[in-house]
């Protein structure tokens, strides 16, 4: 295994009774890489992500995330990764500023550090004028950008993004991807799921899960060549039904 790998998964498997949700997946994700994690609904993506983020103990196999073991050090993994999903990320009934302070506290940042980061983040995101507003009153695109920045507040080496761009307009969606590019160029590893196949093209490498297995894993360019496809959409359509 390479030293710079931030995710190392070797035959990670999760069974629920007789059903194998994730079936011996083996892959590595390198530091600073944007890694697209694709698959049809029910292919096992969510279960795999839960194992990699320390939320679910694997049945068998081996895995390390951000330097910690997925079996024995799940709590350390949770503290050392960033996580954002479309469904849950921010507290809607807290203000913008309160959300930042809350998550800063959860991740164990010092008070002075939280204060300094809050000011910088409000400025960078141009949210200064709405800092005292409840998060639920913000447009979806602003929430998503705020959620992403908060996921990076404790400067994790890796951030997991679960369908981060659902439902926003095409400009906001692209602005979000520029934030992803920027984070990656700062050395943060980005692990992202999406149903937008154009976004698969923005990833350095893409894996496609089918029936619990990783069926394909490579750069978008090589995947398109391998499957004689014009777009990642076509690659996905060829593979995803198994």
């Amino acid at each position: 295994m390479q030293a710079s790998a931030v995710i190392q998964s070797e035959n990670l498997t999760k069974k629920f009774g007789a059903f194998t949700a994730v079936d011996a997946i083996t892959f590595e994700v390198q530091a600073g890489e944007i890694f697209g994690f694709l698959g049809a609904n029910g292919a096992g993506k969510t279960t795999a992500m839960k194992m990699l983020t320390g939320l679910l103990s694997p049945t068998s196999g081996q895995g390390r995330v951000a330097g910690f073991d997925v079996f024995r050090e799940a709590e350390k993994i949770k503290r050392n990764i960033g996580y954002m999903s479309q469904r849950f990320s921010l507290y809607e009934d807290l203000t913008v500023r309160e959300n930042i302070r809350f998550f800063g506290g959860i991740y164990g940042l010092k008070r002075a550090e939280i204060k300094e980061k809050t000011e910088r983040l409000l400025k960078e995101l141009e949210l200064e004028s709405v800092e005292k507003q409840l998060v639920k009153s913000l447009p979806l695109g602003w929430k998503q950008r705020l959620a992403f920045s908060i996921a990076l507040l404790h400067e994790p080496r890796i951030v997991f993004l679960d369908e981060p761009t659902g439902g926003v307009d095409p400009i906001t969606r692209r602005q979000f991807w520029e934030m992803i590019y920027k984070a990656a160029s700062d050395g943060v590893t980005v692990f992202v799921t999406t149903h937008y196949m154009d976004e698969a093209e923005y990833c350095d490498r893409v894996s496609i899960m089918v029936d619990g297995k990783i069926q394909a894993l490579d750069t978008p360019g090589i995947l398109k060549k391998t499957y004689s496809a014009e777009s990642m959409d076509e690659v996905f359509l060829k593979l995803a039904r198994g």
């Binding site: 029910g42 979806l140 095409p170 093209e201």
Partner: protein
Amino acid sequence: MQAIAVQNIHKSYGKVQAVDNVSLEVRPGELFGLIGPDGAGKTTLFRIIATLLLPDQGSATVLGFDAVKDYAQIRRRIGYMPGRFSLYQDLTVQENLEFFAAIFGTTIRENYHLVKEIYSQLEPFKNRRAGALSGGMKQKLALSCALIHQPELLLLDEPTTGVDAVSRKEFWDMLSRLKALGISILVSTAYMDEADLCDRIALMQHGKILSVNTPRGLVESYEKPLLAVRTAGMYRLIQDLREFSLTDTAFPFGEYLHLTTRRRVGEEEVVDFLTRKGHENIEVKRAEATVEDCFMALMQE
């Protein structure tokens, strides 16, 4: 008679103007797409057309009936699939379908031909509780329940949100077949690539309709000079092209970046600029606009 005719509809929630003077017509037998991001007002408009919400101003007729006065007539004739899964989670697959058939005074057997193709995929699980179905199967069951009373008009509010690309394609294939049976369909989506599968589309943002057109007509009406650009690294390409003096917008579109410019520029001008910036493997070509390009251009007007 239009399947749907909406005239100057307004609807506010407190200070939020959810639907702002919207007029729209859906022709009989048409597959009409309402395209826009979350918060555009799509669901509010759907609820008004489905007679579940009263507009503040304006009028709507659905299948020739007034959406306020004749709501009972309309409800009997439409099939409505709300954005949020609204079936009975504690009933089984079959019980849900039987229930919806019964309240519309029909039976599964009577209209089985309408749902056969969709429902047959669910039949192996017909004794499973609806709450325990996967997302894709819930969506198929919801569509079956919306169809079982043989509606003349289907209202589908974001049926494909959160659904993977393969299942979305299957869902749209089903819609084409329902259209072929003569059912008029109004469907909303935030996925702009689905627009191409509609007969006509309305682009919606901030409660307003930005444009109504056929997908073909929309992209042909695009007037900005548009180039597709590709180099070895997308992030650096975006940053550098933002500094190019003729750039209007520079946004990634899959493997290419779409560049709109203030005036028509030759491909070689862009190549020269990027070469000076040290880019490699530069490819620049004229691009045909997509529905997303059009939406972005209209948003910025």
